[in-house]
């Protein structure tokens, strides 16, 4: 049972990639919120496939229907349910007997004893992130009312890393569908993706997400630390295999005197000399920008030959994964990571 998350907000996710529909139920929204559906649509469009040569050719309009929780354009306070019908599915591309390497096929088969919906990854499909983006698009409107703004950029694709930059700069990049600070790095990243595509291969990357104006004092110690709660959301995104806050793994090779975010008083306000801790101390926001980076593995759906098992025939086979797939899911992961950040921050409020 993994489809439910949250304390203040509760998100119950449902659906399988090639079933009737996907969606979620969101409980815990305030009543009276006038929802800007254009803004929601914009977020959904960022995630939707089929819009760029860097992405899959699969077209998913991701047209959603709100089933409850909204009256006259405003939230009623009751659970908001949203549903997205599945379209343009090519279920015949999927063979339940062949375990796609790097996917959840084997683990789902084991856990669900052969009854999981195998088509397109079923419940494990990245497609399930569409309702997450919807939920995030609602929640960030609430956060925005309190000045909290969230954005993400592509920090790395394969062997190309963007330059370091301030959180405000990350937010400035938001309108771009491929947000990278350094133009040359951006160019090289796109080339790496197109090269992988022409190779029938894929590449991974890193997303950096920031949230500014998160009020100091938000968060909890220990098991519900900001890092714990946000990481549990980030690791919910299929393909994410690493999460760090502030300087993260780089802190491991620093001294205490280098890593200390010295404090000072400036015009009566507490200021920090640096943000190595990514805006969080003791699990609680310190008022500085939250900075989180997530490592996205290269999608395992590639045309290159991989070795795997046909469970029905009981033999090792060679496969090339069919279906229309992304050579790099990092650009489409950006709104998902932002949505998770929004949901996580809101849950603490």
């Amino acid at each position: 049972m993994g489809s439910v998350w949250g304390h203040k907000i509760n998100i119950s996710l449902f659906g399988e990639s090639h079933g009737a529909a996907i969606g979620c139920v969101i409980d815990g929204l305030p009543s009276g919120l006038a929802i800007d559906f254009d803004a929601v649509d914009a977020q959904m469009a960022r995630r939707a496939p089929g819009r760029s040569p860097l992405s899959t050719l699969r077209k998913e309009t991701d047209r959603y229907e709100v089933l409850s929780g909204i009256l006259n354009g405003k939230t009623t306070g009751a659970p908001l349910a949203v549903m997205i019908r599945n379209e343009d599915t090519k279920s015949q591309d999927y063979n339940p007997d062949i375990l796609r390497p790097g996917h959840a096929d084997y683990t789902a088969m084991t856990k669900y004893k052969g009854y999981a919906d195998y088509r397109g990854g079923g419940h494990f499909s990245g497609r399930l992130t569409a309702p997450v983006v919807f939920a995030g698009a609602i929640v960030r409107q609430i956060l925005a009312q309190q000045g909290i703004v969230i954005g993400a950029r592509i920090y790395r694709i394969y062997d190309v890393t963007d330059e370091e930059t301030a959180p405000d700069d990350v937010l400035d990049l938001l309108p771009d569908s491929f947000p990278v600070k350094n133009p040359e790095a951006k160019e090289r990243m796109q080339q790496a993706i197109l090269r992988a595509k022409s190779d029938g291969d894929s590449v991974g990357g890193i997303v950096e997400c920031v949230a500014i104006h998160v009020p100091a004092g938000l968060g909890d110690p220990f098991f519900h630390s900001m890092e714990s709660r946000l990481a549990s959301l980030m690791f919910s995104i299929p393909a994410v295999k690493g999460v760090e806050f502030g300087d993260g793994f780089a802190l491991a090779q620093m001294t205490g005197s280098q890593a200390g975010d010295g404090l000072s008083l400036q015009e009566g306000k507490i200021c920090f000399a640096s943000n190595h801790n990514g805006g969080i101390n003791g699990g609680i926001a310190n008022g500085q920008p939250l900075v989180c980076r997530v490592a996205v593995k290269p999608t395992p759906s590639i045309q290159k030959i991989q070795k795997t098992v046909n469970v029905m025939k009981g033999e090792t086979v060679s496969v090339t994964v069919k279906g229309r797939h992304d050579p790099c899911i990092v650009p489409r992961a950006l709104p998902v990571v932002e949505a998770m950040m929004a949901i996580g921050v809101y849950d603490f409020m």
Copy 2:
């Protein structure tokens, strides 16, 4: 509210570093478990300070008292409560007006409006990991009955990294209080710590933790993925700022064809050619060793001068953190990381 964690097992943590006692209540243990308290003591000793020149001089015997849940040496099935009285505290070393940089002093002051117990970090102290180690020591005895074994090694200290090695080798290193595979790396790591100590500084590092024989099928999709649940525990450990599974961040710079853990059938059993995914696909264990690395920041309690704020006087001041502190907490973090892994795996069973 952050002191409570778990579904199958429920751990409720309490205590402040310089208060009367610390401890936890563990609900969800099976009845009839004959507890090996020598094994518990051994785990507690690994975490306890004052045992090595690489550690603090502070002596904490961490003598625990079991208050409930055990009768005639066996668990009753009712909640097991454990308490550790605080001793050898030098509360006068702590000044509530001075915010120690890199600590939770400022965020705790903000969140709790000045009423948090500031002495020695209060509830945010690393000392709170003692009951976690106790809980982990119980839980790993249950896991061991099912063949699941957990161990951790020091993967990096400051600028020294250990060599790559198989999970079984990590387990072989367990008896060592400073477990590193490569002897030369070990030597250089210890020198880095002693150098930091003599500089009045500190260094960070990375812990690698493995769990073998976790049965395939354990785990859940999405919000309760193995990665999500384990990361939420790992990020509960004070000073942890990054968590990765399998190749983690290194996956970001790989191609799909490099990262695919190809499957094959060998003597009727499913085998993997590699373990880039760290034993987890789609949030669910695949039967390979779980591999998790956590980045530990250098402790901010250093004697070097740091800039900070005296909130009572309303001025920026220079401080050197008093008290008896570790130049590197990575060695003492090993049993804590293992305990969190044990608790996390058990919670799925």
Copy 3:
């Protein structure tokens, strides 16, 4: 946030009476369950209105669509989402300015600051029990595999009480849409309902629900006692204002020697001389039939004149509640109470 319940099973309820749809997401079902949809339909029909002169004339087909979680007629193990479109709504019957006495109109208006969907009670409508019955109909198929059978009878309507009877007799009454043991009491109960109907009034009653073959040992102490968990579900049903187990309130006027369920050994098995405790001791099932009674208040939707407030005009007014309403909801509550019992028992397994 009240729409989410459960540990082993998780039910997330959504919808408003006159919105687009109602439904729920059920997480935690086992995979591979072949669902008998005829049995589900039968349960839905028991709750659906418009089938009897004792009930409302409002027709709700309660035709449901399964959106996820089922493949080839069997559960996949992923969340099962179900949706029922709202039809035959007469929203114009409802005036948001008039607070219907005995309904949630005033409390919903207060809690949701005027934004709640007021039409037909919105999220507070008894209509929301339709997805509950659906969920219960699934769950009781799982219970039945383990021999656990659940049934309910009408124990009282207004001033007419049925005779005491054994749990097995209650189950025998199940096929009847108005299950009462004593034929004369049944006749008088129906007359009481028809009399209330012709008076433009309504009457309350008591439902008695039993579950047999619940295995001894199921349940938990204290906060998650069988009584606690089941009562939390029963009190979720709109109009329920009292819940008791075993002899319940009658125990208050008994002595310990009368109320003791003496034990004996018969052919090596533990037997009880009586079942005053309703199958539960210390929160845990003792193997005897679970017996639970719930008090259902008379529906406040009556044609008789009631005094209330027009909040827009700021004046006290007289109203007769329009819309097509039940003179007694007890008969339609039977499958809802059974569904809650099924969900509650399953959650402990």
Copy 4:
């Protein structure tokens, strides 16, 4: 796992009647609360045994030690842990082989496979309500700051019922250790208890608990209705077998026109003509007094001969329950019921 409860507040209960200690961890208290420990002591004294000829002779001082969460008399915001050492236990009075009828002996033995602490009921002992009263005594101080006051009276003992009265009158009775409105009823209730005592028997009763000034709008629909949450707490109290709100079971024999709590505007404020619903509509407080009644069964610990089973010898035997027991636990249950009400109301705030 049943020892943990709550969303806003989290209470983790531990202990066994004859073990080292009982207690609880309370997470979710605000920081900076100056605790009136005299008021806490007064509540503890109301529950403690050995103070009246109507109660057991067993002396439990119930002296508690606060282990964490308080600094200089004020809450720190971190978990508050409290411990009560067990004293004056006569463990030899208990024989694990004899299942005491009406107790949890059989169900605990079954659930915990023979490993439960059987002495004095172990974790199922009414003694576990001492930490609950402690927690309630803290929480009601927070509620009192917002004007919310809670009190309970004895509504019935055996065959004697108190007269109906207004909630404010119930509060007026609070200083009395045997609070009954009607003096004659009080006299007869006490006689009933003394008669049961001299008979070696016991009697049950009903507690009525009220909470005034609970703000309208507090609560949630459905699964987390005020009734659901409060009932789950009330049914956690050992011996409680029935819970009702407002007129409760009496509503079953009323018509809608009798039961409607008509509304009117008086000086701009919404008023109710009656309170049949006990202050709750649709699961949400309506601003009227909350009224809850709980049925307490006669304690099964009686000297009269009961039939039961000796599991070791495998035979049916006759027993008289030894130990020092209450002929009626209703008077001592009053502060427990109030504590649960306080905890429940606070959890919604």
